[in-house]
């Protein structure tokens, strides 16, 4: 199944894809329904606004504190994990991360690697790298399994197959799962997935997982899930590889409950998930199960660029709950695939430029009405709207004095736009020029073009008034 490459689409075609998505009634219905469901479920978990604000303050504080001490905490985490028997690897970019994992898998002559849900593994395009190495990388989260079966990528970070209807999944299973009869009962479809994947858990040599929180004081990796596939991947195969971004570390175990409580409530409106899996090391000599060998891959991939700027550092506070996308009017209308990046929605718009460079992603921060909903629901209070504005600015201009340029700094600069703004500035600072323009624009108003690009797609054309306001006021006196 993994021989079929997953489609990856660069963010540069965002506008075309967004237009196509907006015209797709089916897709819009799927997303609107699912997002309304998640919005209501979340709201029901936070009946007391004052209590929510105090929880957000604590969570924000924990994340800011952890980031302020990030280098020390990463070293402490590494030291603890190594003492617990875990091998720790560091990767500066996606290629390095993939090479490390392919290398481990090859050393164990791996044919099959089962994967628990990990957005970082999507971010580094691990499945491609494994396919190139001739190793099957099988997604085992039901939603991820469904999208992989159809050769797609997740459209939501928490609910990967949210864009698909039950009927589409029923047809997909009947077509692609060997021996599966057609059924559109959700219970039976899940039963089919369960049976297929249990076989795979038994035979896989390597299991891969993400990490939700990494605790430095004890060297503990925490995984949040409902299905149990994460536990399977981290327990049954002989080798467990965890992959995570460097920002996921917290100092103490006691920092976890406030973040965990907000994560599940913000994400799916659950007070807690079925499983919270805390892993601190491989199987001990007297234990009868668990992986004999354990690895953690710490991935930078642009995170240090966000870290290097005090404002943009707050991007790394994210605990990946997805509430910002659930509440985003743009995401709800265009869905996750239109963005063309691993992380869609508002969080994707502010994190992707660091991972992929502004040249490929400068259009993403413009996919927002700046309504502010994302910032309002963010459990760790990332000022997403401010960061969107900041990234728009970075895409249009040279780096601020004293700041290192971002990758792709100024990628959206346009000579025409610069010339228009210079002209505008000149006119508005010279009264004579301003009056001359006003006189000309009103006298020659008949010459305004009837088609005015994007403006006239759904609006009547703009036309100057018959007389300038100055002239009208002068007439009244």
């Amino acid at each position: 199944m993994n021989s079929q490459p997953l489609s990856f689409v660069p963010a540069s075609e965002f506008k075309q894809r967004a237009a196509a998505a907006v015209a797709d009634d089916h897709l819009r219905k799927s997303f609107r329904g699912a997002m309304d469901f998640l919005i209501n479920k979340r709201a029901a978990q936070f009946p007391d606004p004052a209590a929510l604000e105090s929880q957000r303050s604590l969570a924000e504080h924990i994340r800011k504190y952890s980031l302020a001490r990030l280098p020390e905490l990463l070293e402490q985490l590494e030291q603890k994990l190594v003492a617990n028997g875990v091998q720790v690897h560091w990767a500066e970019n996606a290629e390095e991360a993939c090479a490390i994992i392919v290398g481990i898998a090859r050393r164990h002559s791996t044919k099959l690697m089962v994967k628990g849900k990990s957005m970082v593994s999507e971010e580094v395009e691990l499945n491609h790298a494994m396919a190139d190495a001739g190793i099957e990388a099988l997604e085992s989260d039901m939603g991820e399994y469904i999208v992989q079966l159809d050769g797609e990528k997740p459209s939501h970070i928490i609910m990967p197959a949210i864009h698909k209807t039950r009927e589409q999944i029923a047809r997909l299973f009947a077509e692609k799962v060997p021996g599966a009869a057609y059924t559109d009962s959700v219970d039976e479809l899940i039963g089919i997935g369960r049976a297929v994947l249990r076989e795979k858990f038994m035979s896989a040599e390597v299991g891969l997982s993400g990490v939700n929180f990494a605790v430095a004081e004890t060297g503990t990796l925490c995984l949040v899930e409902n299905e149990g596939n994460g536990r399977m991947c981290t327990t049954v195969p002989d080798v467990h590889i965890a992959i995570t971004g460097i920002e996921k570390v917290v100092e103490k175990l006691e920092h976890v409950p406030p973040l965990f409580g907000l994560l599940t409530r913000s994400a799916t409106g659950q007070a807690i998930t079925t499983y919270f899996n805390m892993i601190s090391g491989p199987r001990k000599p007297d234990e009868k199960d668990g992986p004999g060998e354990m690895h953690l891959v710490l991935v930078d991939n642009g995170r240090t660029q966000a870290y290097s700027d005090e404002q943009m550092r707050s991007t790394l506070q994210c605990i990946r709950c997805g509430a910002c996308m659930n509440h985003c009017p743009v995401y709800t209308r265009i869905g996750g695939h239109a963005y063309g990046t691993t992380y869609p929605g508002p969080i994707g718009e502010i994190i992707s430029p660091h991972m992929l460079g502004l040249a490929a992603t400068h259009v993403l921060p413009t996919a927002s009405s700046l309504c502010g909903a994302c910032g309002e629901v963010c459990p760790v209070r990332i000022p997403i709207p401010e960061l969107l504005v900041r990234l728009r600015e970075e895409a249009q201009h040279d780096a601020r004095p004293g700041h290192a340029p971002m990758v792709g700094q100024g990628a959206a600069k346009s000579r025409l736009a610069d010339a228009i703004w210079s002209g505008w500035a000149a006119m508005y600072t010279r009264p004579a020029l301003y009056r001359a323009f006003g006189w000309l624009a009103t006298r020659f108003r008949a010459l305004t073009p009837p088609m005015q690009g994007g403006w006239t797609v759904s609006r009547t054309p703009m036309k100057p008034a018959r007389r300038t306001l100055h002239e009208l006021m002068a007439e009244r006196e």
Binding site: L70, E92, R194, M202, E254, G261, T274, S280
Partner: protein, 225 residues
Amino acid sequence: MSARDRILQRLRAAPQGKAPLAPDVPAFYDALGAAAPAGTRASRIALFCEKMAFWHGEVVRVTRDKWPQKLHELCLAKGVRSLLYGPQSEHAAALVAAGIDGLKPYDRPVGEWKKALFEDTDAGLTATRGGIAETGTLIVWPDASEPRLMSLVPPIHFALLDADQLHDTLFDAMRVQRWSDGMPTNALLVSGPSKTADIQVTLAYGAHGPKELVVLLLVNEEEMQ
């Protein structure tokens, strides 16, 4: 220079404003606790049962001396033909004495009997280290005598929970049980049977793990209701 050193160097080179003070998490929970009526044993039991039922977990109240007999009845009622248990666990002797058919000890490394574990085991029984009332959660602490997969692979998970070990919140459990002094290789919070809503946000139970979770809540005679 290694990738590790370059990453750490970039992080250390970043400007740092005033360092935030360490967050006082205990003070946060203490303030919450002070604002609400203090949790009693009875309120914790009631809340745990309510929340666990919400997660589709079944709670059976039973006294300390009667749980093996109750488990026997449950196994018969559910048609359990094989029940996995830890032969070195504290409760093994009582369990064996109950005369349950098809008792299956987890007595060798999983690699030697993976297929039988996955395909031929109806249920597993584990102890728990306690429970959390606020969320209806079990604290499962696998070890050499009760390995990790016992609570994951069999379709039914029976869990023994002592009502004395119920805590109000996850934070309380962590603090009272002093988790930060040393974590086991694997520790788990379990709230109900395995589930998914990945197909059109429709909830389905028994995704990859147990389809049923049955909690044998050990209570005093007067708490039996």
